[in-house]
């Protein structure tokens, strides 16, 4: 399902004294089956943009195309139900999507709401609760009697149980412990590969963007300023600094090494494995890789 935003603008509380323009003139295209990372400094409009991807917010200007559905400010809520079934969003704050009495009911809610039978919904929910590494007995607990990272895992389980075609993730690893963070990012990637799930990740982790994404969108002050593959986006640190953004740790380390060793800049190392191979090629026996 291709997604495209054309000249999208969004103003919160439009027409009141509190109005706040959060997006303007956004033109982005997210090809079906891609893994797109969206980066941008605090307040640049990333979460606002994400909420347009399943019609939670309707643009106050321009149009959003989600597969065959077009959303403009005139679109009615009930036209959006099919979109909501196909596009699952994990919100920035997990508490914003938890509401049921028990974790099990919470994770079952999505599938039930979209017509999955009770038995199947329960089986799916239990499967995802388990997959997200939640401790024994969590299913029967209230989602509000959990630790922050446990709530995050429940919120993710709830969205994955819907088995969406498009998975939209707003800072999904905030609050996860380091091992969980890696496991869950790998899980998203596996789903992306195996089910051809279109994946859209908003993140402050340049490392995750570099490692997992094949396409990137850079937001700055409410509009898109750059789109391209990670190698290209992270190849130009100076340009990113102009938008108050940095490069992944792998790249900053690589540049530090190159400058100290008097070497020209090589292609940006997007993962730790790539960085290690690059360094080894320079330092290894007889090695000069440049």
């Amino acid at each position: 399902m291709d997604i495209a935003l054309e000249q999208v603008g969004y103003t919160y509380a439009a027409g009141t004294p509190f109005q706040k323009r959060a997006l303007h003139d956004v033109n982005v295209r997210i090809p079906s089956g891609s893994y797109t990372a969206i980066i941008g400094h605090t307040g640049s409009g990333k979460s606002t943009l994400l909420q347009h991807l399943n019609g939670l917010l309707k643009p106050t200007a321009g149009r959003v195309r989600i597969g065959d559905t077009e959303v403009t400010k005139e679109t009615k809520g009930k036209q959006l139900k099919p979109v909501r079934r196909k596009v699952g969003i994990v919100f920035q704050f997990p508490e914003h999507q938890l509401f049921e009495e028990t974790v099990l009911k919470d994770v079952m809610f999505g599938p039930l709401n979209f017509g999955v039978q009770e038995e199947e919904a329960k089986a799916r929910a239990l499967r995802w609760i388990n997959r997200l590494g939640l401790p024994e007995g969590t299913a029967e607990k209230s989602p509000f009697d959990l630790s922050g990272g446990q709530m995050r895992r429940v919120a993710i389980a709830g969205v994955l149980a819907m088995e969406p075609d498009v998975l939209v993730l707003d800072e999904p690893t905030a609050g996860l412990d380091p091992a969980g963070r890696k496991e869950i990012m790998d899980l998203f990637y596996e789903l992306h590969e195996q089910r051809d799930m279109t994946t859209i990740l908003v993140t402050h982790s340049m490392e995750d963007a570099a490692r997992y994404a094949d396409h990137m969108i850079v937001m700055h002050d409410g509009t898109d300023v750059l789109q391209g593959p990670p190698g290209e986006v992270f190849g130009d640190a100076e340009r990113l600094a102009g938008w108050r953004l940095g490069v992944p740790r792998t790249v900053s380390f690589q540049r530090l090494y190159e400058e100290g060793a008097g070497l020209p800049h090589g292609p940006a190392a997007l993962t730790e494995e790539q960085l290690a191979s690059y360094l080894a090629a320079h330092l290894g026996e007889g090695g000069s890789a440049s």
Binding site: G40, H41, Q92, H204, F253, A276, L283
Partner: protein
């Protein structure tokens, strides 16, 4: 040096009447000196936030004592002790009480009886420190995730606390914003002797601490300087943790036949070794 915090064998369960219940915090002890920066790390559900709630007296332990600024914490001295602490919660939305950003930051000051003139000054100052001084009249709930965290931090800084407790307070800031906030807090510590407990999943941040406490299943697994605790290496991965970047990269380089000095934890130290290898090549 003055001891500002002393936890003695504290135990806490959220469901003490349930015979099967586990302790969320299970016999934890440690001390803290004035001016120290302690990072608390550990897997999800290991008891870090519960520990923080026990320290600021939102919860009371069923066993053991929490000593603060020289006295055991009791129901009677709770308000006096709490007025000397600032806490930033894991979810800033749970913390906001004011209708506007400036009211929100002012709220606790008003409660502590700070005179109006001084209060406005402190509110302005704290919001400047986190770069949110252009949002004075915004509604806190209607901000972006990172903006909310900045306002919550300003609320704690404005109190000018002796002990600041940050519960993943920078998890939604961009890397630059995170660095700025940490710098502000380090400066305050330098100037005022502020003590900081920072609960974090960011191991690079933990490297900056004087001491690291590692939690595991409600218990204290280890305590020591970052150098000491990260030397445990792979054992930490089994606890839901990881190693800092420089250590992970060193391990990958070793696989590729490039040896580095054991226990190299910072990028600076690692790159210097690589430069030497490069010039000796």
């Amino acid at each position: 040096m003055e001891r500002i915090l002393s936890l003695q064998d504290i135990r806490f369960s959220y469901t003490p009447d349930d015979p099967d219940s586990r302790f969320a915090v299970d016999g934890v002890s440690f001390d803290m000196q004035a001016g120290e920066w302690i990072a608390v790390v550990g897997h999800n559900g290991s008891g870090k936030s519960t520990l923080a709630r026990l320290i600021i007296g939102l919860l009371f332990p069923q066993e053991g004592t929490v000593g603060l600024f020289g006295d055991p914490l009791t129901e009677d001295n709770l308000w006096e002790k709490r007025s000397q602490m600032g806490m930033v919660f894991q979810n800033p939305d749970n913390q906001f009480v004011g209708a506007t950003v400036q009211d929100d930051v002012a709220f606790a000051l008003e409660n502590n009886g700070i005179p109006f003139g001084e209060m406005t000054l402190r509110v302005q100052n704290a919001l400047e420190q986190v770069k949110m001084d252009t949002f004075l009249d915004h509604e806190p709930h209607h901000l972006s995730g990172g903006q909310k965290q900045r306002v919550a931090i300003a609320g704690a800084l404005a109190l000018r606390p002796r002990l600041l407790i940050l519960d993943e307070a920078t998890s939604m800031l961009d890397p630059q914003g995170r660095e700025e906030v940490i710098r502000v807090i380090l400066e305050l510590r330098e100037k005022t002797g502020l003590s900081v407990i920072s609960i974090t999943h960011d191991l690079e941040e933990a490297l900056l601490a004087d001491r690291v406490v590692i939690m595991n299943g409600g218990r204290k697994f280890a305590e020591g300087t970052p150098q000491d605790v990260f030397l445990k290496g792979e054992a930490l991965t089994a606890l839901g943790l990881d190693l800092p970047f420089a250590m992970r990269l060193s391990a990958l380089l070793k696989e590729q036949g490039i040896p580095t000095e054991p226990g190299t934890m910072t990028e600076r130290k690692l790159v210097e070794q690589l430069w030497t290898l490069h010039s000796n090549r």
